[in-house]
Every structure is written in structure tokens, then in C-alpha cells.
């Protein structure tokens, strides 16, 4: 029987997905475990793995098709013995006519019909599965339920552990996590001696202090982590970073912000970060030599200033892009950022909102970091790392003055930005930050 491949639901918040690209062509042999397609979700791009085998008979969307409802039919897998009729029946089931293969959304009705059909199970590769199987434990060995809980908690692993009954009991009595122990018995079976050695090597710590040895936990990295790992590793390996640091006196900026926010309700207040974005946008616009990207032996000078702003979320970070910052006023920047932050936290940013960008801004000031060196997000040419605002003594006109100071560190891609260009950019940035009135222009 022909198998329906449906748009998977890859997260609780996902209602629709984009078909980033097909990894197989119509007519290709598909084996179980093959990656059929990449789907963009609200959070990340994920791969769809085939469960069944067959030939990719039809795809119902082209690469890049957006907004496909969850559980919509996206492709049909044909088994060896399937007749044309069976394929047609499947399509009929999903209210699709041959000529009707669409490049855009299927309508709601189809989704409803889908729910009746037996959907092809799809395992999103990203899905984290930490299976914890507890070792069979004889209930008799456990004298009370709290001990049992402890026992089961400690005796977890994703595979069966060979251990002698005596060793198991000794491990339990001494609160030893047997997953920490390498068995020396036949075929790696954990035997009494292994437990004794473990206890001795820990100086009886477990026995007398009742300390539970915490085990290392291995988890599959989320796709977000993988992307971060991959991109930043690439960046540090391939992009020749150089760093320039500058201290900005932000007395006027702080004062200015107070004035702006004075009569605003809390939801509309402008943040320091908003102002920094504006200042960076203006600087890049004024120093176009810095707003560029290395591209395979060519340099791509960007026409607009699109700034990726790093937003930390649980388990990673998003860098939604404020496009054409040079044309936005502070209010617009602020509103956009509030929207981004809120949607980043609820996982509702669209990939197109965080993919691309010309330059990045990362602010760890709110975490009390004085200054730091950030890694460039390729193919961008630079990232500005903002530290917190702290009071520092500053010599102004031969006088020591206590000022609010903010350290900004630029990481630049030396392939396209030289030290002098970077210095020019920072100097421009400092001049705007220290004289925020310039932002009015």
C-alpha cells in the first residue's frame, strides 16, 4: 500500500512548516532511515527521515514552499507492489487530484481529512530521546519504597548492564551508580571485586556519607546547538578574527534615555540596547567599508544595514535581524526588538527572521560582563560585543571625573575589514554613543 508522508509536527508550538528542500527526487529509491526532506519549523530546520521503503512517487510541494499545515500530505511513497490505483486512492483520500499538485498551502479541509488517514510515522531527527531503562531489580531486595526509588534512579542506563547479584546489592547498599563502573568479569560483567575496588578508590566516601555519585548525562544536542556548534566552529577556524576595544562614556546616553522614557509606560520604554542598535546601524551606514562580507574571493558590500541581534533563550540563542536599521527610528527599533524577544522566547520566530544579516550585536551588559570577545557569525564581517555600564574614573580635561563607562569590543573579519576600517567604525560608534543627540539626524 502506498505510504503517505505528512508534514510532521516537530514541536508543540508548530502549526505549520516550510518545505526547505527535498533531499530526494521523484523516482528515487528510498530506504528506511533516508533523509527525504528538510523542513523549516518555527525553531530550526529539521530533517525528515523515512520509516518505510519504496520509491518517491510524488511530491506535493516544491522546495521553499511555506506555511504547510501540520499533517498535510507532502509526498507519496510507492511500494514495489503498489498499483497506480492504490496511489490514486491515497491521493483521493487526501482530496488531491493529479493536476492539482500545489506549490502552496493545502487548505484546512485537507488537513482535516488527513487526520482520518493513517499517517506515515516520521521521526524528526532532532527529537531528543533519553530513554531511561531501569535494570530489573528484585523487589525483595528492597526493603522500603523510598529505597526502591533511589535504587531505580541510580540504576539507569540505556543498555542492560551485566552485574552479579552480589555486586548489584553491594552497589545498592553503598549508593553506587553502577553505570560508573567498568565490569572486569566475563564479558564485562560487574563483579564483587569491581564494587569493592570502587568503594576503596573512593575511600569509602559513599558508604559513610551517603553521597550519591552523580553520573554524567549524555544527551543528543538539539538542532539549535548543532547549528551553533557548526557555524561558530567554522567561524573560528576559517574567519581570521581581530579584536578592537573601546571605552565609551555613556553619561549623556543614560541621561538621554531617562528623558525619553520619563513619560512612557513601562512597555514602551526604550532600552539601552535599542539605542546601541541605532548607533551601530548609523555607524555602519556612515562607514560602508565595514558593512560587507567575504564571498569566495569577492567582497560583497551590502546596500542596507541589517543587524542580527543576539537574544539568549533557553538552550541557545537566536539572532533575529533588524533590517534597514539605518532607516529605522528608535521607536521602530524598540518595538521590533520587543516583538523579537517575545517571539524568540516562545519559539515563534520564523527562520527568515533570523537567517542572513550583515553584522551582529551581542550585549551581555545585563549579565554584568565588563567586556568580551564575540565570534563572528559568518558570512558577516563583524560583531560588536557590548559590556555593562559601570562607573569609572575618567580623565577629562586633566580632571578625574566619575563617568558611566561601557566597553565595546569589535570582532572583525580581517579578510574584509582591516584594523583601520574597524577603528573608524568604532570611532564613529563611540562618537554617536557619547553624543546621542546625533541620532536625531
Amino acid at each position: 500500500m502506498a505510504v503517505a508522508i505528512l508534514m510532521p509536527s516537530l514541536s508543540p508550538t508548530m502549526t505549520e512548516g516550510n518545505l526547505a528542500k527535498w533531499c530526494k527526487n521523484v523516482g528515487d529509491e528510498i530506504k528506511s532511515g533516508d533523509i527525504i526532506a528538510e523542513v523549516e519549523t518555527d525553531k530550526a530546520t529539521m530533517e525528515i527521515e523515512a520509516i518505510d521503503e519504496g520509491v518517491l512517487e510524488k511530491v506535493l510541494f516544491d522546495d521553499g514552499a511555506e506555511g504547510i499545515s501540520v499533517n498535510s500530505l507532502i509526498a507519496v511513497l510507492r511500494n514495489k507492489n503498489d498499483t497506480d490505483k492504490e496511489v490514486k486512492e491515497l491521493l483521493d483520500e487526501h482530496n488531491i487530484e493529479e493536476k492539482d499538485l500545489k506549490k502552496t498551502n493545502l487548505n484546512e479541509d485537507i488537513t482535516a481529512v488527513n487526520n482520518k488517514s493513517k499517517p506515515q510515522e516520521i521521526i524528526p531527527v532532532e527529537k531528543e530521546k533519553i530513554e531511561e531503562k531501569s535494570i530489573e531489580i528484585n523487589a525483595n531486595e528492597v526493603s522500603n519504597s523510598s529505597e526502591k526509588v533511589l535504587l531505580e534512579k541510580n540504576f539507569v542506563d540505556d543498555s542492560r548492564i551485566a552485574i552479579s547479584p552480589l555486586a548489584k546489592r553491594m552497589a545498592f547498599q553503598n549508593n553506587i551508580d553502577i553505570t560508573l563502573i567498568t565490569g572486569s568479569g566475563p564479558r564485562g560483567r560487574i563483579i564483587k571485586e569491581d564494587i569493592s575496588n570502587f568503594i576503596n578508590s573512593n575511600n569509602g566516601l559513599n558508604k559513610y556519607t551517603n553521597t550519591i555519585v552523580k553520573k554524567n548525562i549524555r544527551k543528543k544536542a538539539s538542532s539549535m546547538r548543532k547549528v551553533i556548534a557548526e557555524r561558530l566552529s567554522y567561524s573560528k577556524k576559517e574567519v581570521p578574527h581581530f579584536y578592537l576595544s573601546i571605552d565609551c562614556n555613556v553619561d549623556d546616553l543614560v541621561k538621554g534615555r531617562e528623558l525619553i522614557n520619563k513619560d512612557l509606560d513601562s512597555e514602551s520604554k526604550i532600552s539601552i540596547n535599542d539605542i546601541i542598535i541605532k548607533a551601530l546601524g548609523m555607524s555602519l551606514s556612515n562607514i560602508p567599508d565595514a558593512n560587507c562580507s567575504w564571498d569566495n574571493g569577492e567582497i560583497n558590500y551590502f546596500g542596507s544595514v541589517d543587524i542580527s541581534v543576539a537574544i539568549a533563550v533557553e538552550g541557545g540563542l537566536f539572532t533575529p535581524i533588524l533590517k534597514n536599521v539605518e532607516q529605522l527610528n528608535l521607536r521602530e527599533i524598540s518595538n521590533k526588538m520587543k516583538d523579537f524577544v517575545s517571539r524568540a522566547n516562545s519559539g515563534k520566530l520564523l527562520p527568515k527572521e533570523y537567517e542572513g544579516g550583515n553584522f551582529s550585536l551581542s550585549n551581555l551588559g545585563m549579565f554584568g560582563i565588563d567586556s568580551f570577545s564575540a565570534i563572528i557569525n559568518p558570512p558577516q564581517s563583524g560583531i560588536l560585543a557590548i559590556g555593562s555600564i559601570i562607573k569609572k574614573p575618567l580623565v577629562i580635561n586633566n580632571e578625574i571625573k566619575i563617568t558611566s563607562c561601557m566597553t565595546c569590543k569589535l570582532s572583525g573579519d580581517h579578510r574584509v575589514i582591516d584594523g583601520a576600517v574597524g577603528a573608524k567604525l568604532l570611532k564613529e560608534f563611540k562618537s554617536i554613543i557619547e553624543n546621542p543627540i546625533k541620532m536625531i539626524v
Binding site: 528484585n138 525483595n140 552480589l166 546489592r169 553491594m170 547498599q173 572486569s184 568479569g185
Partner: protein, 466 residues
């Protein structure tokens, strides 16, 4: 000298250590030769474990016949043919020795007849009728066993003062017999000759007979033997034994310090054994020894790389099954030095007297001396249906656990066929079973082995049939 083949392993001695090692070695594809100066199978098959079991079977039948009317069977008149009993024992040994020959050939082990010795690392010289042959080999396993210990004043004369070997092949049964040494060998001969009607006296210098056994076992055994009219003198020191014209005259001091001088037809000296480490060429290599035994590591390798020692050469307990196990241990290591097969080497011991005695692990006394908090269970065979049916319910089974961990640390048994029952404990200890695993084991009914279960249950006050 003739130089011949090169081997991966040459084993000197074909006893239960050597021949088992040879077969294993060949099984693993190693080119293997075994050197034997006498009969294949060593002492165990030819002059030890096996022929004595054949003799003890005869005495057991003799005993059963003597009480056959208890079972409603009237045997009008029965008699025994001593020479046939001895001949059968020899025949059993021959059969098994031939069996070893067959097995070695089947496994393509080269059998080299002669006296083997090391001649430097990787070289073995075999001497046969003044002809010496040199063999090169990557590994040598020494498995030359042991011989009866000889003590001044107690030298065997092989006529009236016997070693165990002489005691296996006497022309006729002695009227009276003095057994010097109440270890397994002495007790087996005492039991055998007593059942055939010899007047048997056992002298033991230590406080109890079978001194390595659990105290309760030793005391129970003593009671059984004394009921069967064996005289047992413990804490008694033998001064000397002299061969006289018709028998022996023994001088000893009993536990009260009184001197005795008594006459017996024959005496058996069974006071231990000495390892055969002489004439092995140990001085041609660097092999560390200590007090007459060869020192080896966990893999039975000596201080000289590539030279291994197994069995009696490496010290007590002097048991065939220990030798076999060490033989395999050594060969497996030679084959794969990186193997991971750490396991408990707990060696059971058996005495095939009537009653039989079998044990493994620690005695109660030793466990307590080690500071282990114990739980012990004991089940008398009087409570076992199968034993009562057999008409043989003298005996008990005792099980000792570590009270804290439930580790099975010792088992001791006396009674009918307990030498067959002990294996249950061997497996349980090897697998590190706790009392729960034994509780959960279903023992077949009716068998004497149910007493194992009961004994285990009793340790936790759960026995059903007491």
C-alpha cells in the same frame, strides 16, 4: 642432541593440569606438545583421585550388602575377591589413561615421552633413554605435580609403611592399619579399609580430623567414623614408624602426653605432598620460588616471561580441578593476554569416605576470624525425604552467608553423595548469587539437593522442614 620442532606451547606433565591445558591450547590453534615421563593422566588418573574412587565404590557396595536386610533384601552369603577389587581399580585407571591418550591425539597434541626440563627461556629438553631432544617453544607450562611428603622417621618402605600409592595395590587386606594423617587421603583409606574389616586407627596431630574442614563437619565425621569402629586419635604426635618383620611398630604421644608404642599390620603415611620442582631446569631461567612452590601471578605466569606453572607446583590446595582450571587460565592468557575474564577462583574440596564430605569457601571459624558478620543455616539430612528413602540420612548441609551483603561465603556438607551436591554452591558462588537467588531457585523433589535449599532458608530462619 637432536633439535626438532618448534611449538607455541610445550607442557611438561600430563596430569589433570597438563593434559587439560594441552587440549585447550590445541583447541585455540596453538601448536602444542605435552611431555610425560610416565603414564598419561598423571597421579590423578593413575595413582590418585580415580583409582581410589574405584576402591571406595567397592567398599561402599560391601557396606550396602552388609546392611541389605534393612531394605528387605536377604543376601545369604557374600564375599569379596581382593585381587579383583585392586585389579578393577587399575583397570579403571588404565581406561582413563587411554582416554587421555585418545583426547590428546584427537586434538592433535604432540605427545613427547620422556623427562622434560627447561633449558633456558623458550627451550625444553626431553630426555628419553639417555637420548636428549631439544624443542623450541614460545611458552612453557610446568605441570609436574607433586609426590608424597617424606618426613624423617616416617619414610615409606613400600612394604609395610605405605605411601598412598602402595595403599592402592596391596596383595591382601591388612588386619590392622595405622593411618598417619587425617586429611582427605588418610580418611579415604581409613574408610575403605575399615569397610572391608581392617582394624583402623587414625592419628592426627591437629585437634580434629579433616582439619581444613568446618569444625562441625570434622566433629560429625569423627562421630560417624567412630560409630563404624575406626579409632581416632587427634592431637596425637607420631614419633616414628618402624617396619618390622610382619608389620609396623609406631611410637606416638597422645593428647594427654602419654607415650604409646603399638603394632599394626600396615601403616599409611598421608601427611601431605611436596611439589616436583627438582630437575625441571628452573635454574636455567629466572623463576621465583618460595618454600618449595613456584610463584605465579593471576595468569599462572612465573617470574620468567613465557613460563607458566599450574597445579600442585603452585601450592595448596593440591587438587586436580585446581590444576585443570589453572591450566586453562594459563593457556587462555597465552592465546590472548588482553582477555577480560576476571572471576572468582573458589576451589571446592571433596573427601569420598563414607560419609562423604564436601565444602567450598570459608569455614565458619575462618569467616569469623576474618571479622565477617555471618548468617549460617544448617539442615540435617534427617529432614530430607530422599535421604531417608535411601536409608542414609546421617549428615547435614551448612551454608554461611555474609550477614551484611548476603554473599554466599561458604558451604559445608557431609552425607551421601554430597560430593555431587557441592557443585550447586560452586555455581552460585561463581555467579555471586546472594541468598535471594538461592531462595528463588527451584530444587527438584525428592532429592538430597533440597537440603541445600533448606540450609540456605535456615540461615534466614525460613527453613520449612525443620
Amino acid at each position: 642432541m637432536q633439535e626438532t620442532q618448534t611449538y607455541d606451547v610445550i607442557i611438561i606433565g600430563s596430569g589433570p593440569g597438563g593434559y587439560v591445558a594441552a587440549i585447550r591450547s590445541s583447541q585455540l590453534g596453538l601448536r602444542t606438545a605435552i611431555v610425560e615421563k610416565d603414564k598419561l593422566g598423571g597421579i590423578c588418573l593413575n595413582w590418585g583421585c580415580i583409582p581410589t574412587k574405584a576402591l571406595l565404590r567397592a567398599s561402599e557396595i560391601q557396606h550396602l550388602l552388609s546392611e541389605s536386610n534393612n531394605f528387605g533384601i536377604n543376601v545369604k552369603k557374600f564375599d569379596y575377591d581382593w585381587s579383583k577389587i585392586i585389579a578393577r581399580s587399575r583397570q579403571v585407571s588404565d581406561q582413563l589413561s587411554k582416554g587421555v591418550d585418545y583426547l590428546l591425539n584427537k586434538n592433535k597434541v604432540d605427545i613427547i615421552i620422556g623427562e622434560g626440563r627447561i633449558s633456558g627461556s623458550g627451550r625444553v629438553i626431553v630426555k628419553n633413554d639417555n637420548k636428549e631432544s631439544l624443542y623450541n617453544t614460545s611458552n612453557i607450562i610446568l605441570a609436574t605435580g607433586a609426590r608424597p611428603k617424606i618426613i624423617k622417621g616416617l619414610e615409606h618402605d613400600n612394604k609395610h609403611i605405605w605411601s598412598y600409592k602402595d595403599a592402592m595395590i596391596p596383595e591382601k587386606k591388612p588386619e590392622s592399619l595405622l593411618v598417619i594423617g587425617a586429611g582427605a587421603i588418610g580418611i579415604e583409606f581409613a574408610s575403605f579399609y575399615n569397610d572391608f574389616g581392617s582394624d583402623v586407627t587414625v592419628i592426627e596431630s591437629q585437634n580434629e580430623i579433616l582439619p581444613s574442614e568446618d569444625l562441625e563437619i570434622s566433629l560429625f565425621a569423627k562421630k560417624c567414623f567412630e560409630q563404624d569402629k575406626i579409632k581416632i586419635l587427634t592431637s596425637t604426635t607420631i614419633k616414628n614408624v618402624k617396619s618390622t618383620k610382619f608389620g609396623v611398630e609406631a611410637e606416638f604421644i597422645d593428647k594427654n602426653g602419654e607415650k604409646h608404642k603399638l603394632k599394626y599390620s600396615r601403616a599409611i603415611v598421608a601427611i601431605g605432598i611436596d611439589a616436583n620442582i627438582e630437575n625441571l631446569g628452573l635454574d636455567t631461567v629466572n623463576i621465583k620460588q618460595d618454600g618449595g612452590i613456584i610463584l605465579t601471578d593471576n595468569n599462572n605466569e612465573t617470574s620468567e616471561k613465557g613460563i607458566f606453572a599450574i597445579g600442585d607446583l603452585t601450592g595448596a590446595p593440591w587438587l586436580a580441578h585446581k590444576a585443570s582450571h589453572e591450566g586453562i587460565n594459563a593457556v587462555d592468557y597465552i592465546y590472548n593476554p588482553n582477555r577480560s575474564n576476571k572471576h572468582n577462583k573458589i576451589i571446592p574440596g571433596c573427601t569420598y569416605s563414607r560419609p562423604q564430605i564436601a565444602s567450598i569457601g570459608l569455614t565458619e571459624e575462618k569467616a569469623i576470624a576474618k571479622g565477617i558478620k555471618i548468617k549460617k543455616g544448617k539442615f540435617p539430612l534427617l529432614g530430607n525425604g530422599k535421604a531417608i528413602s535411601l536409608g542414609y540420612s546421617d549428615g547435614f548441609i551448612k551454608t554461611i552467608f555474609n550477614a551484611e551483603t548476603g554473599e554466599l561465603i561458604g558451604a559445608h556438607m557431609i552425607g551421601p553423595e554430597v560430593t555431587e551436591l557441592i557443585s550447586t554452591y560452586c555455581v552460585a558462588m561463581q555467579l555471586e548469587a546472594t541468598e535471594l537467588d538461592l531462595f528463588n531457585t527451584i530444587f527438584p523433589h525428592p532429592t538430597i539437593s533440597e537440603s541445600i535449599h533448606e540450609s540456605v532458608l535456615d540461615a534466614y530462619d525460613r527453613a520449612i522442614h525443620i
